[in-house]
């Protein structure tokens, strides 16, 4: 059955309107010349200019990007190893505990994850800042990265790996020349997911950060607490635009790869 009745079309329209209207209003108001949200004062890019003068916000954005980069890379490496362990290593001691620990951060309330990691850093007497947040983000995005890579590993032909090994390749060479190229799209997707998770996180970063390491969500959060402002609208619009470009580029890349593969 691939016929949409009027009821189902209505369901689509209502559902997508609900998902997109709030975001669209935010984008529209970022171009409002008036400071008042209720009044449309004409089209203006004034708030984008103001944003470029907001040094604390720019510093926070740069910090968040670096943080996302390092923590996503760590999470992807660890998540890929975890996926290989779960998909290729059959039984090993503590496997149940291991898969539980990989998946638990996915459903753990953020306040609990943040609190528990902070208590660890305090107990270990580590100076809190960039690296503690990086470790925290890598730990909670590891599970997401693992799931993405695992689904790819489950879906490919193992005889290719076995053939390489029969021809005398060491496991390391096999991984590097056969497995990794085959799971590469999933590894890239896992990295992007981990990067956005890190860029998005307010709660865990608030717990685990120290003086001098204020992330972009933390800055936005304190600005939002003070009230709605066109400058925040502009900042949000830039972030939405960046995400849209990355997601569309990624899906085009994947599509091209699928076409080349088929």
């Amino acid at each position: 059955m691939s016929r949409l009745g009027p009821g189902l079309i209505l369901a689509l329209i209502v559902g997508f309107a609900f998902l997109y209207l709030p975001i669209l209003t935010l984008i529209a108001y970022s171009f409002n010349a008036s400071r008042l949200v209720t009044v449309w004062g004409g089209f203006s890019t004034h708030w984008y200019g103001a944003l470029m003068q907001n040094q604390p916000l720019l510093d926070a954005a740069w910090l968040s990007i670096r943080l996302g980069f390092v923590s996503a890379t760590l999470a992807t490496i660890l998540g890929t190893l975890a996926a290989l362990a779960l998909a290729r290593h059959g039984r090993f001691i503590g496997r149940t505990l291991f898969s539980g620990m990989v998946l638990a951060p996915l459903v753990m309330p953020e306040v609990v994850t943040g609190l528990s990691l902070l208590l660890l850093f305090v107990a270990a007497d580590v100076e809190r800042g960039f690296w503690t947040v990086t470790i925290a983000h890598a730990t909670f995005s590891l599970g997401f990265a693992c799931i993405v890579v695992q689904s790819r590993l489950a879906g490919f032909d193992r005889s290719l790996e076995e053939a390489a090994q029969d021809l005398g390749a060491t496991p390391f060479v096999t991984f590097w020349t056969v497995t990794l190229p085959l799971i590469w799209p999933a590894v890239v997707a896992a990295w992007m997911l981990a990067f956005t998770l890190s860029l998005d996180d307010l709660v865990i970063a608030s717990f685990t950060t120290g003086p001098g390491a204020t992330t972009l969500p933390m800055r936005l959060y304190s600005a939002v607490k003070l009230g709605v402002s066109p400058e925040i609208n502009a900042a949000c619009t830039i972030m939405i635009g960046a995400v849209a470009v990355v997601v569309i580029a990624a899906s085009l890349l994947l599509k091209r790869e699928q076409l080349a593969g088929s």
């Binding site: 016929r3 990989v102 969500p217 949000c236």
Partner: protein
């Protein structure tokens, strides 16, 4: 397999397991034990602000005899705590119901759409999820606040009367929650509904079932795993949510995530915050078990 016989290969294999294992043990398991231990400690005006009752494994017996359950009995005695637990469960349950009410028709329509549209529709459901969580909540402040977009639009359309004043109410929290968690409901529902054999519906219709009867007796029972998985994926994070009740809620929408945050950041009572966290996890055990069941039954079906 011959790969395991060479010691060097075996070492490499072990490393693949050991590296993520050790990482998770150090940064997930150990912190968890520390929280448990902290929950049984006393607050102190020191830095860090707590006095542990337990200095090592050797003192385990000692520790058990003097476990400080004061934090937990406070959680039971002070109405603020258990009421906010109940309130969180209530909000999470309402969020799940509303997300299901909006998400099911949406997922059903997506699954019924022509196959060449489905991928695109799926991308459009996921896309808002990639934009910042904070931004999506913030967008609702602009809509719901006094003289915000909603009030202005209603006035423009000619609705006379009092402004709605929705911001800082329970309605606002619910709206924000349903909005933020909707994709978690739609994705598993879509996955089950898409795989549903349409021939079954035709068979039901041939046998004289009305579309409503066919839906109630065929589609709905078959999509139950998707409903369970989606509900758990919405319910579990919703219980511990902090940002949405904090930004959209008011003084009377105190959810447990916010209580934990305040105990930690405002009152600096780390042991009490840890006790709140421990009880929160206990509360979440049942829905987690349900989620695991749903996942298992889906794997069995696949």
């Amino acid at each position: 397999m011959s790969a395991a016989s060479s010691p060097r290969k075996a070492g490499l294999r072990r490393l693949v397991v050991a590296v993520p294992y050790l990482w998770l043990a150090l940064f997930f398991l150990v912190p968890f034990v520390i929280v448990l231990r902290m929950a049984f400690s006393q607050a102190a005006t020191a830095l860090p602000p707590y006095a542990p009752h337990w200095e090592g494994l050797a003192q385990l017996g000692d520790f058990l005899s003097q476990l400080d359950i004061a934090n937990f009995s406070l959680l039971g005695d002070d109405a603020l705590y258990w009421q906010s637990y109940l309130y969180s469960l209530r909000i999470a349950a309402l969020t799940t119901i509303f997300a299901l009410a909006i998400g099911y028709p949406l997922a059903y329509a997506m699954a019924s759409a022509p196959a060449r549209w489905r991928g695109l529709l799926l991308v459009f459901v996921i896309l808002p999820f990639w934009t910042s969580f904070l931004i999506r909540v913030y967008a609702w402040i602009g809509i719901l606040r006094p003289e915000g977009l909603l009030d202005t639009t209603l006035a423009f359309l000619g609705f006379e009367g009092e402004p709605l004043r929705l911001l800082n109410t329970e309605t606002a929290v619910l709206l924000g929650m349903v909005y933020s968690y909707l994709p978690f409901m739609v994705l598993p529902l879509f996955a089950t509904l898409e795989k549903l054999d349409r021939g079954l519906l035709e068979a039901a219709a041939d046998l004289g079932a009305t579309p409503v009867t066919a839906f109630l007796t065929v589609t709905l029972p078959l999509s139950l795993p998707g409903i369970l998985a989606g509900s758990a994926l919405v319910f579990i994070p919703a219980v511990g949510e902090f940002v949405i009740p904090d930004l959209l809620g008011g003084p009377d929408t105190v959810m447990i995530g916010k209580v934990l945050w305040n105990e930690f950041f405002s009152n600096r009572d780390w042991p009490l915050a840890s006790a709140v966290a421990v009880v929160l996890l206990v509360v979440l055990v049942l829905p987690l078990v349900l989620l695991q069941r749903a996942r298992l039954s889906r794997e069995m079906a696949a």
